[in-house]
Symmetry: D2
Subunit: 142 residues, 4 copies
Amino acid sequence: MHPEIEQNIRASFDAQTMMATLGASLLRLEQARVEIHAPILPGSQQQHGVAHAALAFAIGDSAAGYAALSVMPPGSEVMTTEMKINLLRPATGQYLIARGQVIKPGRRLVIVQADVYAVQDKAEKHVALLTGTMIPLPPDRP
Amino acid sequence: MHPEIEQNIRASFDAQTMMATLGASLLRLEQARVEIHAPILPGSQQQHGVAHAALAFAIGDSAAGYAALSVMPPGSEVMTTEMKINLLRPATGQYLIARGQVIKPGRRLVIVQADVYAVQDKAEKHVALLTGTMIPLPPDRP
Amino acid sequence: MHPEIEQNIRASFDAQTMMATLGASLLRLEQARVEIHAPILPGSQQQHGVAHAALAFAIGDSAAGYAALSVMPPGSEVMTTEMKINLLRPATGQYLIARGQVIKPGRRLVIVQADVYAVQDKAEKHVALLTGTMIPLPPDRP
Amino acid sequence: MHPEIEQNIRASFDAQTMMATLGASLLRLEQARVEIHAPILPGSQQQHGVAHAALAFAIGDSAAGYAALSVMPPGSEVMTTEMKINLLRPATGQYLIARGQVIKPGRRLVIVQADVYAVQDKAEKHVALLTGTMIPLPPDRP
């Protein structure tokens, strides 16, 4: 990956205060594939003590968005326009991993996917599937 | 609304630690219609300083889920199985309001919708539309 | 509605051979609201003899797309980029009605909704909810 | 695959009159993976002469539904409750192929995915991604 793109993504991630609130971190950063981890904090739970759907959504959406950004010119930005999440299993464990990928790049829209896994004692289980659409904002936009 | 259902919903809301983390509160509670408010806290933002999509998702999903719970027998619970969010405008303002409603009740599945508004100086703008599916868990489940 | 826009929509509808295959017709055409009807033909059914989900999808998607087109300049076109359908009840009856509306107009994207009803002996029941995103193609595009 | 399940799926496919209307055929049938082909008939087009989104939806939904049925006991049935389609590219070519798979089996709900490809002179391009939820109806249902 172009170092400027990587720097771009890391700066954007750090500027998302929601990521810090949820304790999320950007772990893997490759062309069209991005991985974000987040612990299941005491403050990130739903009423049964498992990870809130909004935690899986938050890191899945971000992993997908940064996967889109990784295939765009340096200085670009992306915005989510729509995202669907299918919740597959209760998200129990120590932390969640979101793996984002680009399904279809494009100048007007980028179609993305993210898979979210809950990790308990190093065993991963697939807890959510997200598919969505990102709007690319090129660096030379008005 | 049956007082036991209202108590059920309030207890469930209070047990969702994510709601406290995001500063959300349950304001209006009617048969098939529920309203949740959340300030746009310094820690709930995306990279441009507006409300993170996960904030709209979190309160929209909860408002929709509690709308579903409001039409079920006391002692029931609900789980989200899928939720799509369309983001309509940047969520700028002092706080967000999510209004959840039931589109189609059912014994196996409840189809729900939520509309999320950003409020700036008392003016509301529509920032997100969510549609999704809740799984009802009746009180006498095994 | 501007007569040129109405003519634009009617010509586009007539050019969709799938609409003729399904027996669909464009009934109501207003600013931001469009209605399409289709009989439940012997050849439009699923394995239990009720209307196939693809029939509700086809007319719901078109009603939503033409609602989007109705708020755009004459000579424009639209393309669906994503559409989600929630099926609410079995689509039994003589025919289906799809009512499309614009949720949020825009230069880059138009967010739309359609509700589909099955009609039996003049009684309507709500059988599907669609939400989606249209890409506007303005008349002066390259 | 259990021969009774295969027979079950073939009988269900043949009973869907919409599949015959669209000229679709069931080609590959494996555990959790199903493939459906359909020519882009003169009567299956949208206003620009390419395959209508409803054609991709129809065969994608069916391929996903039969993938779900292939992992269920003989005599079962499935119903789609929700399906989202992301359209990736114009569907030009001689025919479409939909490949359905099971993402998560379950007693209450089965989460499925389908990818649709347009084939022109044996070259495939990815034109649509569908994700959805099937409701299993076991053979011994009341």
